[in-house]
């Protein structure tokens, strides 16, 4: 097997303000072309991991140990200019909220051509051609008109398509998709998921899919990493996780999902005891230094 595209090992981080642990010795390996689900409830640490990969950890979070190797190079121990270039060219983000991710005061053309001009050194004309090709790939009709538009003139689904085009524009090897469909209607969500899958196979990129929706994970991911309190609780193939989760928390989380196909299962909140056990377990661990 070839070397993983991303190898995070023993990554720990804490809050600068009160020293509270945010990540506790996280290990995560993502193979080339793989789709990895990163799931957990609020506060599990999934966004912190995503931000560490993208080199955009806020100053309120301090990494206390560990490495995050992208193609072998440790992102956490790299000088800023090299990090910027490496991530700018090789890693892309599909953000959650397409309205805030796009600059409301700039036309789509300007926003889609920034990356290619900066990292590929393309001139305006070539960058525009690339942007047009990108919009066609994400099945936007009238790409010429969309290039001239401002973000508010597009629907939520269209904006998300634009951001997907932007993410794939530089043919990155790794894409971090941070809850990219949470704000969308289910029918639009399905189209966007299908599009991400199609683009991914065309470009051979690995995708880290950050989400709290186990249904989305089941349909799009190869493997899943489940987090709680900054620690990896369970990791495995998506089928195993959905059909036979091992950890009690994983089982409880699955049982808590309302499902229209299983009304008799009812609503089962995660039992207090499961969460209490987990918290006690985490508290016993030596605090991250």
């Amino acid at each position: 097997m070839s070397a993983p595209i991303l190898a995070i090992s023993n990554l720990s981080a804490m809050s600068v303000r009160d020293g509270a642990p945010i990540l506790r010795g996280v290990d995560l390996e993502v193979a080339r072309g793989e789709t990895r689900g990163l799931v957990g409830e609020s506060g599990a640490g999934k966004s912190t991991i995503a931000k560490a990969i993208l080199g955009i950890l806020p100053s309120t979070v301090s990494v206390t140990s560990g490495q995050a190797r992208f193609e072998g190079a440790d992102l956490l121990a790299m000088a800023a200019p090299r990090l910027r270039r490496l991530i700018g060219e090789g890693v892309a983000l599909i953000p959650q909220d397409p309205m805030t991710a796009l600059n409301p005061g700039r036309r789509i053309e300007a926003q889609l051509t920034d990356g290619p001009r900066l990292w590929r050194g393309l001139d305006a004309r070539a960058a525009r051609a690339l942007a047009l090709k990108g919009l066609e790939e994400v099945q936007i009709r009238e790409p010429e008109r969309v290039l001239r538009s401002y973000p508010h003139e597009l629907s939520g689904g269209m904006r998300q398509r634009v951001l997907i085009a932007a993410a794939f524009a530089l043919e990155p090897k790794l894409i971090v998709a941070d809850e990219p469909t949470t704000a969308l209607d289910v029918t639009v969500q399905k189209q966007i998921l299908r599009l991400i899958r199609a683009m991914q196979s065309a470009y051979g990129a690995a995708v880290i899919f950050v989400t709290h929706d186990l249904g989305v994970v089941a349909q799009i991911c190869d493997k899943v990493t489940l987090l709680f309190g900054g620690r990896v609780i369970e990791e495995g193939g998506v089928a195993q996780m959905m059909e036979a989760p091992r950890h009690p928390y994983a089982q409880a989380l699955l049982a808590a999902c309302p499902r229209y196909d299983r009304p008799s299962a009812g609503l089962r909140p995660i039992p207090e005891s499961v969460v209490a056990d987990l918290r006690a377990e985490l508290a016993r661990e030596p605090a991250a230094r």
Binding site: E41, S42, I140, R141, E153, L154, S155, G156, G157, M158, D185, V186, T187, V188, Q189, K190, Q191, L193, R194, R197, H212, D213, L214, G215, V216, V217, A218, Q219, I220, V238, A239, M242, E243, A252, L253, L254, A256, C257, P258, R259, Y260, D261, P263, G266, L267, R268, P269, I270, V275
Partner: protein
């Protein structure tokens, strides 16, 4: 007297239509095209639809928060369609709304105490502040909200706690009808299940009628007795949850159901075509 608490028939709502300075009439955009529904006593009804289906507008119209241009709304046997605000006042207590975003619906500058007690005093549900306080403490206890929360401000609470405060505030007024508009869409699944169970318990114990607006059919299935599927301002299908989910008749309902990703491995799901893929669907 009928078993229905609320009956709406032929509701139409349009926005716009004012005149510009040069007195050219602006076009009216119709959002609801003759919607009829009923909510029985003690019944929980789901209203499902995607963005732009008019589900939020419908909810607001049912509670007389916006005016309808046609149709009739009867609440507890009384026609309230054009009731003056003064006459609506006593009815307002009986029809309450739980908002989508508890952060936006709880005044950030008021303590939880004030937020929870004030409506009880305003509507005369509680005799005095002490009485209101006793009632609030009782319900906080029931909702597993620490009493210390009363002293706090909304931003000091977790999302799940804020949502429970929103539900408590409404429950304390002992309404007959509660409209819940997408109240769990931003919550984690465990908090979501908690909030939904609370509401189910309330409706059972107080005999509440509920209208549950959501885009999530799985959530609707878990809490509702009956469901209306709304599309572009029209009801395309209605029925008992059991029947509708078991054998949806309308193509749009089927597409909505099929678009929901379930937490089980289904290799064909992603490539299965769905209604949203129609080339005719407007993109912009």
């Amino acid at each position: 007297m009928s078993d229905d608490l609320l009956i709406a028939s032929g509701l139409e709502v349009g926005f716009g239509g004012g005149k510009t300075l040069l007195s050219a009439a602006k076009p009216v955009v119709k959002v609801l095209h003759g919607v009829s529904l009923r909510i029985g006593r003690g019944e929980t009804v789901g209203i499902v639809g995607e963005s732009g289906s008019g589900k939020t507008t419908l909810g607001r119209a049912l509670l007389r928060l916006i005016d309808v241009s046609a149709g009739e709304i009867r609440f507890d046997g009384r026609d309230i369609t054009h009731l003056a605000e003064r006459d609506m006042r006593p009815i307002r207590r009986r029809m309450q709304l739980i908002f989508q975003d508890p952060m936006a619906s709880l005044n950030p500058r008021q303590t939880i105490r004030r937020i929870v007690l004030e409506p009880m005093l305003f509507h005369g549900v509680a005799k005095n502040t002490a009485d209101a306080e006793t009632r609030a403490r009782a319900i906080f206890d029931r909702f597993s909200l620490p009493v210390a929360c009363l002293e706090r401000y909304p931003h000091e609470l977790s999302g799940g706690q804020r949502q429970r405060v929103g539900i408590a505030r409404v429950a304390l007024l002992a309404p007959d009808l509660v409209l819940a508009d997408e109240i769990v869409s931003g919550l984690d699944v465990s908090t979501q299940a908690q909030a939904l169970n609370l509401l189910k318990g309330l409706s059972r114990d107080l005999g509440l009628s509920m209208a549950f607006i959501s885009h999530d059919l799985s959530v609707i299935r878990a809490v509702c007795d009956r469901v209306y599927v709304l599309r572009l301002g029209r009801i395309v299908e209605e029925g008992d949850c059991e029947a509708l989910f078991g054998a949806p008749q309308n193509a749009y309902t089927r597409a909505l159901l099929d678009a929901i990703p379930l937490p089980r491995v289904d290799p064909g799901w992603l490539s299965r075509a769905s209604l949203g893929d129609e080339p005719a669907a407007p993109q912009a």
